[in-house]
Amino acid sequence: MREATFGIAEGEIVALIGANGAGKTTLLRAIAGAHHPSAGIVRLDGTDVTQVPAHRRVAMGIALVPEGRRLFTTMSVEENLRIAGSGSRNGEWSMERIFEAFPMLRARRKARAGDLSGGEQQATAIGRALMSNPRVLLLDEVSLGLSPLAVEQVYQSLQTLMTGKSTIVLVEQDLNRALRVATRVICMLEGRIVMDGEARSTTREQVTQAYFGLERRRTAVGTGTSA
């Protein structure tokens, strides 16, 4: 990652797109606190959280669903959820509610996370992040390695989230889906932001051009208030 500056408003759903190696995962991890930027500031509600370690950011309301899911494979689904639930942030999400949102997990609650199918693992990973009742949910490539059906199921479950007040940043390779679910689109290329605009006013062509760097044009950045 070279350099990025942007703000997110509460309730926005930001799609972060770009080729592999563009810096999307690094950016999400920097927001979550797993990655320490060599320079720059991360602010949550105006508070500088750059020095705050990742586990405290969870308590402050930032949760990341990591690329590749990264479940605790030797622990059960239930244990994976429980582990995240100790954050004690109040909110609508509890183990029960997560089983409602992802019904296929209920039957598998005692199963070893490593034995689950791809779709079930993704659901567990998302549920795990939700257990901390985050204000900002970061989703890193939730469709990675999943069958189209599973991806569909995941996004359906995410619908309730999307229509709520949650602030979401998601990395998604499927441009169509990204444009469909997001309110805002940020495109990254080689560690920099090359496009940042409202989803509904952005065309596929514009995105494609930015994605491949065909037209290095930087649009105005930071139209929202800091999140």
Partner: protein, 300 residues
């Protein structure tokens, strides 16, 4: 000594080895650190116990209430002061730093307590030599049974702790994937400090038993470390109970070896260890790391 007797005595000895080995395995499983000062720390516990009973005239039943928390606190400090920094610097630095620490500890003990070997066997009176005869010339020491029972309770307790408490889950998560654990809200630094404190608590128990079942001196640490390591590696069976199995195998090998030659006790133990390590390397592949990680992770 008949074979049956050797098996029984060896099994009882295994109980002690399980106690001293589980802390070493635990720390390696959670933090990937082999603590070369492990044995010396057990000797510290033995001396603390001895000092509490002999110098402060505490009852041997009450003294553990002092020794165990003291060792746990030492463990916490150890983690925050030395081990954390060592682990960050690479996989080899902890070996170097804990070795240096071991030298400092044992020589400080020598400086403060002198070279005499001590034992607290007198303090527990008849318990140190009383036994039950079960016929056939076989006697089972009461103390030895006590230690074996304690080992089983300790391992069982650790198992329950890891499976059913939130901190236990956090420890298991941190052991598997510290990075992701942080991302779900687990304070991995605090977790590691707790894990070390728990490991040191087991070391405290081992040290106290060491002081009553045998004699100890400031330089007894290395031997205890080697026994703990051998028991942990032999038992690689994929669960916490592996240290018990390993301890028993080691104990039996040593007891049988002792019948053959005065040096047989140690020779047999080391040889069995090397043979089993050899077999495991060539037949199944995984070493201590995988075994221990499996031990920590599998709840039942």
């Amino acid at each position: 000594m008949t074979l049956i007797n050797a098996l029984i005595q060896g099994t009882l000895l295994g109980g002690y080895y399980a106690i001293i080995a589980c802390g070493l395995s635990f720390m390696f499983g959670v933090m990937r650190i082999i603590n070369l000062a492990h044995g010396s720390l057990a000797v510290v516990a033995a001396f603390l116990f001895w000092a509490a009973v002999e110098r402060m005239e505490m009852s041997p039943l009450l003294a553990p209430l002092l020794v165990v928390p003291a060792m746990a606190a030492i463990g916490w400090l150890l983690q925050r002061g030395i081990l954390e920094r060592s682990a960050r610097a690479g996989t080899l630095v902890p070996i170097l730093s804990t070795f240096g620490l071991a030298i400092v500890i044992e020589n400080l003990l020598f400086q403060y307590f002198g070279a005499d070997t001590r034992s607290l066997a007198p303090a527990i009176g008849d318990l140190s030599f009383e036994s039950w005869g079960i016929g056939g010339g076989i006697y089972i020491g009461k103390l030895a049974i006590l230690i074996l029972v304690a080992a089983i309770l300790l391992l069982g307790g650790l198992q329950v702790f890891l499976t059913h408490t939130q901190i236990g889950r956090e420890i298991r998560a941190t052991a598997e994937d510290p990075d992701t654990a942080e991302l779900v809200g687990v304070n991995s630094r605090a977790v590691n400090a707790v894990a070390t404190a728990i490991a040191m608590a087991t070391v405290a128990i081992a040290g106290m038993f060491l002081s009553v079942r045998a004699a100890f001196d400031p330089y007894a640490g290395p031997m205890q470390l080697i026994f703990a390591f051998e028991a942990a590696v032999i038992g690689g069976a994929g669960s916490l109970w592996g240290t018990l199995i390993g301890g028993i195998v080691l104990g039996i090998a040593q007891t049988i070896g002792a019948q053959i030659h005065p040096l047989g006790f140690l020779i047999a133990g080391h040889s069995v260890f090397l043979v089993i390590l050899f077999v495991r390397l060539y037949l199944t592949g995984p070493g201590l790391a995988t075994f221990v990680r499996a031990m920590i992770r599998r709840p039942a």
